[in-house]
């Protein structure tokens, strides 16, 4: 087990910079999730750590060793690929034994190690099967088994759940978390799914355009997003954004609505006076209407989800989504008055889109 650090890590293809100077320290035994939209550089970063891509600049350390120029086999890492990358002509046992054989582990030691990993993952009865005879979830577990038997310093997961259906994804996600709790090895996990990031990570690294947008625990990135991008990326349904201006301790939204700017952000009211801002409100942070702390808009669409109801309503030129109690069912076209807790709203600078509070 080992720590991992990236210092000024760069990756370019000709003039195209994919990863732009990433600095990140990952502690031993930590579960870190790299998350971001397609093309943000998360998979490239992981592949550079694995040694499958060369680096264009900076430094990668695993433990105390600089591994910039080391081939993958000398980095003591194990990787679970998006398409599992199981050898189709080998049985599950042979897939799991391959890396151990290559590394010259004695046959007497290979068998118990595979048996132990197979038992941990519940694939003991599948050892004689070929990958083509396995379901998606079973293949995923075999891919994890192949990584576990190596007992590497760091586990790398490259979007391992993206080929599974929603139900199976939930199950395997739990298994990965359980696995980390059981073996405690450092895990670096890449995904574009914010739910996976929130549920699995000790810390989340949110990437955008090859740069780190924010690093923090799931609570930190949810409660204190550093930018409009992070606010919109983390959370489902996504955070609502509406443009406004701070005037006399109140937020005046484009389109005329106003709410009081008090509570957590009250102290900053003077500093923000006259400034153009973007207000972020999570759908689940709307509540009962109160005088001075409410927004009104025409209901556009109502989506009953059973456990709660999503109401989409217009506020000026923006459409906001509120997640409310299931029994609340306004009709489309009605004027909705809905409460907002100022202490739970997020303020971003309209020009830089960085957080103000």
């Amino acid at each position: 087990m080992s720590s991992v650090s990236f210092r000024k890590l760069e990756k370019s293809y000709g003039a195209l910079r994919i990863v732009k100077g990433i600095d990140l320290e990952i502690a031993d035994r930590e579960f870190v999730v790299l998350v971001g939209p397609s093309g943000c550089g998360k998979s490239t970063t992981l592949r550079m750590l694995a040694g499958l891509e060369s680096i264009s600049g900076g430094e990668i350390r695993i433990g105390e060793r600089v591994v910039n120029k080391l081939p993958p086999r000398e980095r003591d890492i194990a990787m679970v690929f998006q398409d599992y990358a199981l050898y189709p002509h080998k049985t599950v046992y042979e897939n799991m034994a391959f890396s151990l054989k290559v590394r010259g582990v004695p046959a007497a030691e290979i068998k118990p190690r595979i048996a132990q990993a197979a038992e941990m993952l519940g694939i003991g009865q599948l050892l004689e099967r070929k990958p083509s005879q396995l379901s998606g979830g079973q293949r995923q577990r075999v891919a994890m088994g192949r990584a576990i038997v190596r007992r590497p310093q760091v586990f790398l997961f490259d979007e391992p759940l993206s080929n599974l259906d929603a139900k199976l994804r939930g199950q395997v996600r739990t298994e990965i978390k359980r696995l980390h709790q059981a073996i405690g090895t450092t895990i670096i996990y890449v995904t574009h799914d914010q739910v996976e990031a929130m549920t699995l990570a000790d810390r989340i690294v949110i990437l955008k355009g090859g740069e780190i947008e924010q690093v923090g625990t799931p609570d930190e990135v949810y409660n204190s997003p550093a930018s409009v991008f992070v606010g919109g990326f983390i959370g489902s349904p996504a955070m609502n954004f509406a443009k406004g201006t701070v005037r006399g301790g109140r937020i005046a939204f484009d389109g005329g609505a106003e709410i009081a700017l008090d509570g957590r952000v009250n102290g900053k009211a003077t500093a923000l006076e006259g400034r153009d801002i973007i207000v972020g409100i999570r759908p689940e942070h709307f509540g009962a209407a109160e005088e001075g702390r409410q927004l009104s808009g025409r209901v556009q669409v109502v989506e009953p989800l059973g456990s709660d109801t999503l109401i989409h309503f217009a506020l000026g030129s923006s459409t906001l989504t509120a997640r409310v109690a299931p029994e609340m069912r306004p009709q489309p076209g009605e004027i909705l008055s809905i409460g907002v807790d100022p202490s739970r709203i997020h303020l971003f600078d309209a020009a830089t889109e960085r957080a103000l509070n």
Partner: protein, 312 residues
């Protein structure tokens, strides 16, 4: 009030007519399958089954267009003659030898070419084109070109040998050298076909398998033997089937390079069939020889198919 079932029991004249047509137009699945397969089956019968049957039948006949005697049933006489015919044995042995040398030769050269063509070149078309050109050339054309290459006075091969300090070889005066020249030409001509099939197989192997193997600690050689070769087996077997069958039918290259000489030392079974049927007009004996060649091809195909099934 009439129910639906009552009305259907007593069909009108019109309805019964519809029923007859419906039966014709809507046959059972079995009849439909036979109807749909019939044109293809008939075509196959016409262009494959009939000629093969006719060939076998002719091989049982004494049918020589130069004898002036009408064709008569000769039973296994042509096959008995074959067993006592030294030229049959020599040409058959030459054919088998050419197959045994050129098929593995083309496989190894083709595999090497395919591996090279699969490298991540920035500009891929020159590599792919160099694979296609030998394959696209007519066999007899390749034979004529290489006959010039191996010419004892003006050939490029002897020129290179002399520049390197060796003596030139009179390639087509010696049975062994002539055989070697023919085999080299066949390998050059056919390895590109092997390479194309193997290249197609290589491109179906996902890159992630090699990445997984790299992370697992396997070097290039190990990756080749543990991943590339096992996953290429189906493509290689298909290439081997095609190549072996065409090797057993080798005709054009030795015909254009040596005409089977010196003597009959480089003549193949296909050339001997051609000689008997076209030059000597002995269709009965020629057909018997062709049946033997057909049987050889079938045996090889059966062995390869068995190999595929065993691997599957």
């Amino acid at each position: 009030m009439a129910t639906a079932s009552e009305t259907s029991v007593v069909p009108t004249h019109n309805e019964s007519a519809t029923k007859w047509w419906t039966r014709f137009l809507d046959p059972s699945e079995r009849t439909l399958a036979v109807l749909l397969l019939a044109p293809a089956a008939l075509l196959l019968a016409l262009i494959i089954v009939y000629p093969v049957c006719r060939l076998v039948w002719t091989s049982f006949q004494n049918l020589s267009l130069t004898s002036g005697v009408p064709a008569e049933f000769a039973g296994l006489e042509n096959y008995r003659l074959m067993l006592d015919d030294p030229v049959f044995w020599e040409t058959t042995w030459n054919t088998v030898l050419i197959t045994l040398i050129t098929v593995p030769g083309a496989l190894f050269v083709g595999l090497a070419m395919a591996l090279m063509a699969n490298l991540p070149f920035k500009t891929k078309w020159p590599v792919r084109l160099s694979l296609l050109i030998p394959w696209a050339l007519p066999l007899s054309f390749a034979g004529l070109i290489f006959a010039w290459f191996f010419h004892s006075e003006y050939g490029v091969v002897n020129d290179v040998l002399r520049r390197l300090g060796f003596e030139g070889v009179i390639w087509f005066n010696s049975a062994n050298w002539a055989f070697a020249a023919i085999c080299l030409t066949i390998i050059w001509k056919t390895s590109s076909f092997m390479a194309l099939i193997i290249l197609a197989g290589l491109q179906t192997i996902p890159r992630s398998l090699y990445e997984a193997a790299e992370v697992d600690g396997a070097g290039r050689m190990r990756q080749f033997f543990e991943i590339t070769l096992p996953l290429l087996k189906p493509a290689i077997v298909v290439a081997l089937i095609f190549r072996t069958i065409t090797a057993l039918q080798t005709f054009d290259i030795p015909f254009t390079m040596t005409r089977g000489g010196p003597g009959t030392s480089t003549a193949t079974l296909a050339m001997y069939i051609h000689q008997n049927t076209v030059d000597f007009l002995d269709l009965g004996y020629g057909s018997a020889l062709a049946v033997v060649m057909f049987a050889l091809s079938m045996c090889v195909t059966a062995v390869y198919l068995r190999m595929i099934r065993a691997k599957g």
